[in-house]
Symmetry: C2
Subunit: 428 residues, 2 copies
Amino acid sequence: MIKVDLQYSGLKDLKTEISESKIIEIHNMIQNKSGRGNDFLGWVEWPETFDKEEYNAMKQAANQLRSKIDTLVVIGIGGSYLGARAADEMIRGLNHIDKVKVIYAGHTMSSTYVAQLTKYLKDKNFGICVVSKSGTTTEPGIAFRRLEEQLISQVGLVKAKDLIVAVTDASRGALKTLADQKGYQTFTIPDDIGGRFSVLTPVGIFPLLVAGVNTDNIFAGALAAKKTLNANDLSNPAYQYAAARYLMNQKGYKAEALVTYELQMQLLNEWWKQLFGECEGKEGKGLYPTSMVFSTDLHSLGQWIQEGTRNVLFETVIKVKTPVLDANVPVDQANYDGLNYLTNKTFHEINSIAIEGVIDAHVNVGKMPNIVLEFEKMDDVQFGYLVYFFELAVAMSGYLLDINPFDQPGVEVYKYNMFKLLGKPGVK
Amino acid sequence: MIKVDLQYSGLKDLKTEISESKIIEIHNMIQNKSGRGNDFLGWVEWPETFDKEEYNAMKQAANQLRSKIDTLVVIGIGGSYLGARAADEMIRGLNHIDKVKVIYAGHTMSSTYVAQLTKYLKDKNFGICVVSKSGTTTEPGIAFRRLEEQLISQVGLVKAKDLIVAVTDASRGALKTLADQKGYQTFTIPDDIGGRFSVLTPVGIFPLLVAGVNTDNIFAGALAAKKTLNANDLSNPAYQYAAARYLMNQKGYKAEALVTYELQMQLLNEWWKQLFGECEGKEGKGLYPTSMVFSTDLHSLGQWIQEGTRNVLFETVIKVKTPVLDANVPVDQANYDGLNYLTNKTFHEINSIAIEGVIDAHVNVGKMPNIVLEFEKMDDVQFGYLVYFFELAVAMSGYLLDINPFDQPGVEVYKYNMFKLLGKPGVK
């Protein structure tokens, strides 16, 4: 359901540029869990093995919560919110009107943001989904304290208990203890799935259920990806994409821009940035993952892409074949703007033609290589498919770089510094 | 009002690395309008010379429009909306509740976005501000057709006339003709100020007035910048920043990330990306401008920044000294999360300490150079100041690269391709 088109990449036949036996070897490492970081490969089987009982319990809890609130505040940082937000925006869109509005917190320590959010929530019937494996990460920790206090002061201790859900470790950690002691319902972050791979676990699924997204379809899409992206060699589209970007890196390119022509996929790009940046950016390696949204960024970064510094960046362009909704350009008899020549086309047709024109301009005139990924539709099924596609791709490309794709040792450095400066007990 | 701190940049005393006489020479080119692109230097004097009569007319028109609507749709792409949006979000914040909500269109051809937006607007009292110098740019052109038709069908032809305002050329172009013929009020985009420098012209000011932002203060901030950033040498903070990033580029760095710790400044970063990318990205030159929002991106790109590929990216970190609003961390006697040690600090204090910790981690452990820009507060005055600071800086850094900072020839290539593929009359 995803087509990888390398004709604009400047790469020749992949098989002549990379050893297919290396691909097969890594495929086996992923499937047999025999490579570095193999404690964190739970996502590989997840579309089949996820806990059905917990899933049903989540559906029930989400329905109850949904019936009581108009606003859900998801408190989490990094992988603890990016996946849910990417899914919510891609599937429901940016100006979707629904019973429950989802708002995010705990991903910033901006005092102005937090203070404005507490004002905004004053007359809302809000619930909280707090997501943290440990419960001691500073950003979501202090945001949760603040909003928990507000909720209790707005509805009282008894009612608040039913409006707070924690997604956390099965048995250990500060958030698990807190939730158990205070009587908040909890769902589990599996031990063998890291934050950036967690969107199909309760981390992403619970908030999406409250938002009213069809998560059965998301799982169906992920399962379809698991089943169809099963070739062990370069006929596998996920490995084609992994190999292509690895080769671009080898040829000296330092950065990749994931390009979307759909505003509502911007957060998917942000999710992708974490997935690839955090998996690959270690031991002095890894492409710098960046994001662009066209047309708007054509009138911003377009000039640099067309004529700026060469041999640093390549683009990976996502094309959506079928629109969820389409729209016509109305006829205007006066035609002052001269746009009547477009009235026989829909917005989606015009957008698709723009993609062709831009690729030609960037690649042939600008000498900016493009990888093109084409998928069917911005719906729940395809979201699940895309997630699995990128997860499988980054496992391959990470192992091609000869690093451990599943750890993140560098994230600890700033946390340690911060704890020390803040005077956290026990940190020296 | 802006301090440029280079102690973490790895650069020595600027005067030993760059010829100060070159800085003075370019300063004179900017002030005397004697360099390349000198037709587009209207922004230099603008905080003093802007048309006061038109400004008063705008205030009147904006007040009238504001009294009639709950939603303003700003239709524009690139410089025609980024400045207004950056100002609106930085000054009013992300969860601000006000009489008028501002929504953007014409910056995308996504059919789903447009179709959802038209649904969303069905029960709104909306007005339109369409911004385009020519009126023939496809993206805003087709969006305007669609929303103009909707507005007329919702309120009738007569009422719609008072709800549509065009910001466009003084006398020529399709949008000017259209507005005059149909009886829509117009305000003027000056001929000598390019799109990416236009936020202080009616392009940015009219939508901000409708949104209820204090534009007098924005102008006051810009004027203060014009007056205080007046040194002709490296004592000028704008030139310090320009020289520093130029030197980083000369040393082999290919990309710059503007880093904010305030979510509501994300759009200012997007505006900055256009300003620097479009000014500098030509003749095979220019840093790739990218953006990050911390803390959230520390749990996404943080790993790559800390340990990924070196000598490609440097960070320019924006520190805000004083918060607009602050918030405390509540005391929780049980202290399950162990965060009571933070209850004597405000969010802003914790955020400021995080900045220190992150800079130390990135610079000293990660060997990722940092430029630090410190300013006072996220308010209207400071927004005007920042705008002028960056505009002056990019003029200097563009001329240091020996290119014309004020044209954008590369943006035409994709437009031409698109027109040809769409069968625009007269394009071969």
